[in-house]
Symmetry: C2
Subunit: 487 residues, 2 copies
Amino acid sequence: MRIFELAREQAVIASVEAVIGWDQETYLPPAAATYRAAQLSWLSAKAHELATSSQWQCALEAAEAADTGAEVTRHANLREMRRAFDRATKLPVALVAREATACSLAKHAWAEARERADFASFAPHLSGLLDIAREKAERWGYPDEPYDALLDGYERRTSTAAVAALFDSLRPELRRIAACAVEVSAGHAPTLPPGPYPIGAQRRLNAQIAADLGFDFQAGRIDTTTHPFCTTLGPRDVRLTTRYDEADFTSSLFGVLHEAGHGMYEQGLPQADFGLPSGSAVSLGIHESQSRLWENHVGRSRAFWLRWYPAAQQCFPQLAGFPLENFLRFLWRAAFSPVRVEADEATYDLHILLRFGIERQLLNGSLAVADIPAAWNDAFRDLFGFTPADDRQGCLQDIHWAMGGLGYFPTYSLGNINAAQLHAAACRDPLVAAATAQADYGPLLAWLRRSVHAHGATLDPADLIAQATGSPPSPTDYLAHLQARYV
Amino acid sequence: MRIFELAREQAVIASVEAVIGWDQETYLPPAAATYRAAQLSWLSAKAHELATSSQWQCALEAAEAADTGAEVTRHANLREMRRAFDRATKLPVALVAREATACSLAKHAWAEARERADFASFAPHLSGLLDIAREKAERWGYPDEPYDALLDGYERRTSTAAVAALFDSLRPELRRIAACAVEVSAGHAPTLPPGPYPIGAQRRLNAQIAADLGFDFQAGRIDTTTHPFCTTLGPRDVRLTTRYDEADFTSSLFGVLHEAGHGMYEQGLPQADFGLPSGSAVSLGIHESQSRLWENHVGRSRAFWLRWYPAAQQCFPQLAGFPLENFLRFLWRAAFSPVRVEADEATYDLHILLRFGIERQLLNGSLAVADIPAAWNDAFRDLFGFTPADDRQGCLQDIHWAMGGLGYFPTYSLGNINAAQLHAAACRDPLVAAATAQADYGPLLAWLRRSVHAHGATLDPADLIAQATGSPPSPTDYLAHLQARYV
């Protein structure tokens, strides 16, 4: 059992890192930023030392040798710990250090390049990071193409070909629905009554709704930040963050619904197994399915607002004369934006399809870094019908590549697809359907708890979806949902 | 220079512990408390391992061997690191572990015993902790009596006899002044106009005043907690905490003045030497001198309120008809309370004299644990003229003994004495005196920065006082201050 003790020690270190990271994004005094980096790097060095130590290796080997496979969870834990150990130890320390330095420089270069819409000054950094990504892929190994190895870090045992097939089957319908949604919206998109929507009132409404959905405030909280996120600081300690716009209360509210979706997943994982695979989230695509389910399938539904609009009207008197139908049309507005993070539900995935195509070409060598802007703009014009004003609004808009996050983007759309498939499956349970229609989400959360959360990372994402919904990942439910809402 | 690198690593660990501890007292969700203990204990184990390692020992010895004494700060750093290393390594690991367990049990037993005013149920725990304290004292060694060794942990190179002499010279005058202050106050103690004093307004006023005094909010912040404290989370990261009473805005304000005094000391230490003795506070008695100076000598002065009372009246309209003179008499009210933490400036030290006497007798064996309640009540009656209603209001009121903090109490009164002596010395500088009379505290802070803060822990507390004020620690200025304010 020694390996499980080591894994729990590893979890303590990771959780301390999470506390430090959370504080950095919420309450850190400006002048303290430099030293915070020293604290984080000491912690990650300790974590890396432990997880790649010979002590760890021996303990893992001993446990594997003793494993009969009879205890299913134990067996799955050992399998995933082996996978993590191999991935960690296949990379030489020098490569990891080289990547950390390259990312640190690339982030600064990206921020400056983006500011000046000057892709050329970022290109050498991206080339360097691409070389490192290729070397990592070679060292990790892959079945078909280098991108497989990167994707595997976010969405384990998911092949590039499978994602490409899924996205291909999504594309034509998605384009049709998005075009239709944008056209309808352009015809009659109501605007929200003018603010201010006081922050105190937003805070109270958000907390009331999050608690009603099932986010446990005994084991979590909501704070304020610039770039909202959800992080877990230990068992029963899940921190959501949001930001407030006094002109639009739905901005913080939908932020909270999204992060609370992540948070309820974390709170629903087997807490006694904290730090073991069986107590951990399985993948980004599953994590994002939980946030998108609560944000879009619940939070943008008519049933939800039939219940909550009166409360919102009480918080914000300016909504008194704004009918629910107008409010819903405001929530369901759609427009083609050049910027992913400003995209609505109907157009979001087009941004992801574009990025996935470019990343895959970069990795397999069919696209050169210097040609990214042209390729981006061509693909964008094809999907959206216009060209971004500049690279700031185009291929320089996201920080992901500068952080070494090649392979990350597809998980956003996998999350959308998974969310719809899980929501549809849950609603085939008559109890869930009846309650959901009344905006009572207890049965829905209970369904997610037992079908998704309880499994931790013991099943692969695709198997988890198949087991929970009865069929392998497919865009059918997602397209049906978009069609129903936007067409 | 290797030992200085190790010391800086040690400081990183300690600072991470400080982040975790700060979060625990401010924002931790209730259900997360258990795991927080695991995080803290992992960190303190790592810190202890490093600071008592043979690697540390060798590096320290190498640096000592190379030390010519020519670099004064370096020499002082090595001397204090040696002192800390010897103190840490003289205690066997088993004893440290035994104390941690005993304290953990004692804290629970104390809380229950206090609730039920049942000293007998706490007595065995205190006996055990006293045995441990005696064993620690024997292992550390001491010049005259075991209490020396404990006191040395809080107020280095300060002898019990010196403290006793200081307190003896304080006692008669203190009793006379306290009795007089209580009598005057009983005659005409005004009460503050009724609340509510809204928390938001308190927060703004406190922050405005703290910033004006010189607390740097770029390198610190104020949050809310149950038991206010100040903690340093890294260079340029000093966190104050306070609590709010809607019936009395002075409660949070004087809390903030006190903690800001601690905070400005921390912010004034040489930040580049963070984690080395030269970048650390020297002792509790010096730390407390800074908090008490800003709280009592500045914050309760007429000059301060001549400047700030109009701002307070603007924040809290109910003060409009409450004259400044009444407000000052409210601030200067005095009463004999059985409870130390409720005591005012005029009576506070009597509580400390009582505790110091009992602790010293316990350590030298002239008082048995079972006899504490009787000894406490006798001493209390002698000093205050009445007997506490029960042990809850008497010898069970403080948590310090249950935390293994024998030897801590005297530092509160040393702080008061040092505060007065430093303030009087600073005000002998005509620039400081003139500015202070106008409630401009820039020159006072600058004087403290160069006379106290800049030295870190390179001078012993008594030498620091002597060097800063021109004479060894003495109660003269403190008694003059109390006499002027209360008689």
